[in-house]
Amino acid sequence: MRFRPTFSLAVWGIVISLTFARAQTVPLAMPKHVEAGSIFSVSTEGSGKAVLYIVGPGQALRHDVQLGEKIEFASELHNAGHYSAFLVGPLSTQTAEFDVIAEQPSTLSFLAKPSRLPIDSHAGISGVVYVFDAFRNLVLVPTEVSFELSQSRGAAQTRTVATNNGVAWVKLDSASQAGAAQFLARVGGIAEKRVIQQVPGEPCNLRMSARKSGAWVELETEPLRDCKGNAVPDGTIVTFIERNNGTESTVDVPLKRGIARTNLPSNDGATISVATGVVMGNEIRWQP
């Protein structure tokens, strides 16, 4: 028996035809867009039993279906995204693609930075809001977000920004007065609040006085304030330096009730200086 190409081709043709017939696809009457969690139905044609598959990275469903009857969806599809639907019947496969879209805004993801910053920082505070629905889908319809930064004294800063691809952002200035500020993001009746601590800036006019106390010189700063008159927080380190005949004595003192105090040896002709952070204070040439 010899190889007969016609027979082989015929077999191969049948295989391909059967495969094609099995894979033959016709459109399935799915809506193009469905709101997340909504109730809807899809009609089918034909007769016999079939299986409906709905797949996407967001969700996977499988339903046994009686062809010719409606397929009911009772809030099952709740993750927004693009889905492929396949109704696999005995003779054909019906296919469709559709999108599940987010419903109304329900929650906000609000990121406010930093949580602590100096006063008078231009565009120093940023707020970023992502808007989600009840099923934690990102709401992509442009939505107005109002931002408000306020504290007990002074006028509040407000901005209204529409979301773009689900996100809205804003940059605001810190106030000139130290204290806690409320940073609020609001969409309709949904609000999220963050607290931003606005701390005094660098001290202004660091000044100290000196007086003799036995073998010591007693040093004391005036109450430390920033250039806006805000008290510099306690714990801020103030450094006193005494230089005398090539020797140097240094004392670091934390601020207590706005004032730093210390004692250094009383050396005739010594130079005493004071500093905190990047700010230099006055200098005293000590003559007891």
């Binding site: 028996m1 010899r2 990275p57 927004a80 693009h82 396949f86 940023s126 934690r136 952002w169």
Partner: protein, 177 residues
């Protein structure tokens, strides 16, 4: 005579086997093929400048996330998501894998093409948002039997956030184009 018949059958089946093996090889080659990737210039990504190195890292990690997603949904193994997904995206994909396991399904996603636009880099540098016009093939298997395959073209929105060593996808959602 019997030997002759066997030989004849073998001759008749041989071309089929060759054709099948070529077809199988082509399918396998297409499966390991890298997707075509195009990244649009990111001149305006919002309030923060996106450095070239950050941009490359974000794209690299986003594409790796597609690979993880494909393996995880094919093998129904949520742990495969850990490297590239976090937060909401990881939770939702894990839920899908749980759905698939329960139903006896597997899905095979083969991304063919990505056209990526970086659209937002947040002021504090803690999130990058991108849009990806993607083409992929999806195949559904019910108890390991292939049921259907579809070529899909859609747009994905992803938000990535930095972790210790890489960017991870935190929000992953397709959007109507």
């Amino acid at each position: 005579m019997a030997a002759v018949t066997k030989s004849g059958r073998a001759q008749a089946v041989a071309p089929l086997l060759v054709a099948s093996s070529i077809f199988g090889t082509l399918l396998l080659m297409s499966a390991v093929e890298q997707p075509a990737v195009r990244v649009a210039n990111a001149d305006s990504v919002g309030p923060r400048t996106l450095e070239a190195q950050t941009r490359s890292a974000v794209i690299r990690d986003y594409l790796a996330a597609w690979s993880s997603l494909s393996h995880a949904l094919d093998e129904n193994n949520a742990h495969l998501l850990d490297t590239d997904f976090t937060g909401l995206a990881r939770e939702k994909l894990s839920d899908t894998i749980a759905d698939q396991q329960k139903l006896g399904l597997r899905t095979l996603y083969l991304d063919r093409q990505h056209d990526i636009h970086l659209i937002f880099y947040s002021p504090e540098g803690l999130s990058v948002q991108l849009l990806d016009s993607v083409e992929y093939d999806v195949q559904v298997l019910d108890h390991d039997k292939v049921q259907a395959t579809q070529h899909v073209r859609t747009q994905y929105l992803a938000v990535l956030t930095p972790t210790e060593v890489r960017w991870k996808v935190r929000i992953f959602q397709s959007t109507p184009e």
